[in-house]
Symmetry: C2
Subunit: 311 residues, 2 copies
C-alpha cells in the first residue's frame, strides 16, 4: 500500500482549526458550571482538566464531519463539546493512582495530584453526566430521533466494548506478552494490541465522526464511508500516541506516562514498523472518502496532520 505524503497541515486546515477551535472553547466554557457556584472545588477541578491545552481532535471531527455532509457546525456544537468532555473524564480516571498513576499530563500536575483523589474521581463522574446532558441539546436542530441515535452510539462506544473495555484490557495486559490468560483472546499480541486500541481509542473517534454526520442528516452510504474513515483514523491516532509516548520516555523520563510493560504498538511491532502502520491506517482512512471530492478536504487534512504531530 502506498504511503500518503506526510505533509504539514495546510493553510486551510490551520484556519479551520483556529476558527472551529474558538467555537469549541467558547461552547465548553459556557457548558461548564462556574467556579463560584456550589460545589466550587468540583467545578474548579473539572475546568482545570478540561482547559489543559488538549488538541480537541474529537470535537473537530464532529464539526468537520457535520460540515462534510452539509450540516451547520453550530448545530453540532453540543455534541462536539460532549465528546471532548467524555475524553477528559477518561483521562482523569486513567491517570488515577490505581490506574496509570500519572503525576503529570501535558506538563501539569494531573487532576488527582492537584485536587486530591476523591475530587478527581468525582470530577470525572460529573463530566461524564454533563456530557450526556449536552448530547440531548441537539434535539431542536437535528430532531429527537437522530439525537437519540447519537446518544446510543456514543454510550456504546465508551462502555465495555469500547473505551472502558479497552482500558480494562490495557490494564490487564500489563507486563504480559499476550492476553491469552483472559480466555477468548487472540493468542497473537499483534491482533491483541489492535483490539485494545480499537476499543480504547478508535471507538470514540469513530463515534465522533459518525455523530456529526448523523446530526447533519447524512445518507447510509456517507455514514458507511465515515465509519471506515473513523476506525482507521482512530487506530492511526493511537499508534502515533504510542510512538510519541515511547520517544518522550526514552529522551526524558518525564514521568508523564507509565506505559512500561503495556501492550503498545512500538512494544509489539517496533517503532519503525509502527510508523509504517500508522501511515497505512491513515491511507485507509483517506481512501474511504475518495469519492467525496472537495467536501472531504478537511477530514483528509485532519487525518494527515496526525502523522506529523509532535504532541
Amino acid at each position: 500500500m502506498a504511503m500518503p505524503d506526510p505533509v504539514a497541515p495546510t493553510v486551510d486546515l490551520r484556519s479551520y482549526l483556529a476558527s472551529r477551535g474558538r467555537m469549541v472553547e467558547e461552547a465548553l466554557d459556557a457548558a461548564l458550571p462556574g467556579t463560584d457556584a456550589l460545589p466550587g472545588p468540583l467545578h474548579t477541578a473539572m475546568r482545570y482538566s478540561l482547559f489543559a491545552g488538549g488538541k480537541r481532535l474529537r470535537p473537530m471531527l464532529v464539526l468537520a464531519s457535520a460540515e462534510a455532509t452539509g450540516g451547520d457546525p453550530a448545530d453540532a456544537l453540543p455534541t462536539a463539546c460532549a465528546v471532548e468532555i467524555i475524553h477528559t473524564y477518561s483521562l482523569i480516571h486513567d491517570d488515577l493512582p490505581s490506574m496509570d498513576d500519572s503525576p503529570l499530563r501535558r506538563g501539569r500536575p494531573t487532576c488527582h495530584v492537584a485536587f486530591g483523589e476523591a475530587i478527581a474521581v468525582l470530577a470525572g463522574d460529573a463530566l461524564h453526566a454533563l456530557a450526556f446532558e449536552l448530547l440531548t441539546k441537539t434535539a431542536k436542530t437535528a430532531g429527537p430521533a437522530w439525537t437519540l441515535q447519537v446518544i446510543e452510539e456514543i454510550a456504546g462506544a465508551i462502555g465495555t466494548r469500547g473505551m472502558v473495555g479497552g482500558q480494562v484490557l490495557d490494564l490487564l495486559g500489563e507486563g504480559r506478552p499476550s492476553l491469552a490468560h483472559l480466555g477468548r483472546w487472540p493468542a497473537d499480541a499483534r491482533e491483541g494490541v489492535h483490539t485494545i486500541h480499537r476499543w480504547k481509542t478508535a471507538a470514540l473517534i469513530r463515534a465522533s465522526v459518525r455523530a456529526g454526520a448523523i446530526l447533519a442528516g447524512a445518507s447510509p452510504v456517507q455514514l458507511r464511508d465515515l465509519s471506515i474513515y473513523g476506525e482507521h483514523l482512530g487506530l492511526a491516532f493511537q499508534i502515533i500516541d504510542d510512538i510519541l509516548d515511547e520517544a518522550a520516555e526514552t529522551t526524558a523520563g518525564t514521568g508523564e506516562r507509565a506505559d512500561a510493560g503495556k501492550l503498545t504498538f512500538p512494544s509489539v511491532f517496533g517503532v519503525e514498523r509502527s510508523r509504517a502502520l500508522a501511515g497505512e491506517e491513515t491511507e485507509r482512512a483517506i481512501a474511504a472518502l475518495q469519492g467525496w471530492g472537495p467536501s472531504a478536504a478537511i477530514l483528509n487534512d485532519l487525518a494527515r496532520a496526525q502523522l506529523v504531530r509532535e504532541a
Copy 2:
C-alpha cells in the same frame, strides 16, 4: 403536622414488589454483558455489585409512577434498569478508599476489595455509560422526544447540582459543623444537611419518579405532584438511611460505613428529631398525591414502607 401511620407493607405492596422485582431482575440480567464476554473481569465486577441484594427502590418508583399515570410497566423497564445501574455505579465509587473507604456493603466485600481499585473505578464508569445506552431504548414505545426529556432530567439529577455535587459536599463537610468555608453555603448546619441530601439522594429519586410518568405521558399537573412526592420521599429515605447507619455503627462497629464526622440528620438533629422529620417528609410526599385516589396506592405504600424498613 400529623404523623402518618408507620404501618408495615400491605399485602398489595408485597405482591407488587415481588412481581415487579422479578421483572427488574430479569431485565437487569439481560442488560448486563455476560462474564464470558471480553473483558470478563470487568463484567464480573459489574454484576457482583449490581446483584448484591439491593432494595431496588429507584426502579420500583419508575414502574409505580408509570403505572399510576396509566403506563405499561414493561415500557418503562429500560429506564427502571438504568436508574438502578446509576445507583450501583455511585455506590461503587462512594466506597472507594479515596472516598468513604468502606470495606463492606450489605455484608459483602465492596467492589474494590473484591476486584481491586482500578477495576472498581472502571466498573462504575462502564455502568454509568450502560445506563445511558439503556435510557435510549424507550424511544419506540414512548417516542424519542419524551425519551430525550428523561435522559436530560436524569443526567441533570446525577451531575454537579445532583448526586455527584451532593457527594462532594458530603466529603468536603466531613469533620466540620458547617460548610461555610466553601462560601455561598448556609451558615446553618440544618439547612446544609438538607441541601446535601436533596442533591446526593433526593435528586435521583425525584428524577426516577418523574421518568416513569414522563414515559407514560403524564400531564403537567401530574408531573408537578410527582415532583413534590419524589423530593420529599427522597429526603425521608436519606434520613432513615442515616438513622439506620448510626444504629448499625453504635451496635456493631461493622465497618460498613465511615460516616463519622459527616453531616447527617442524626448528627445535626439527634435521632429522635430525625425520626420525626422522616415522618413529616413522608407525610408531605403522600399529601402531594392526595387528589389521586386509588391510582396512588402503591406510591403511597412505597413511601410509608421506608419509615419501617430495617436495612
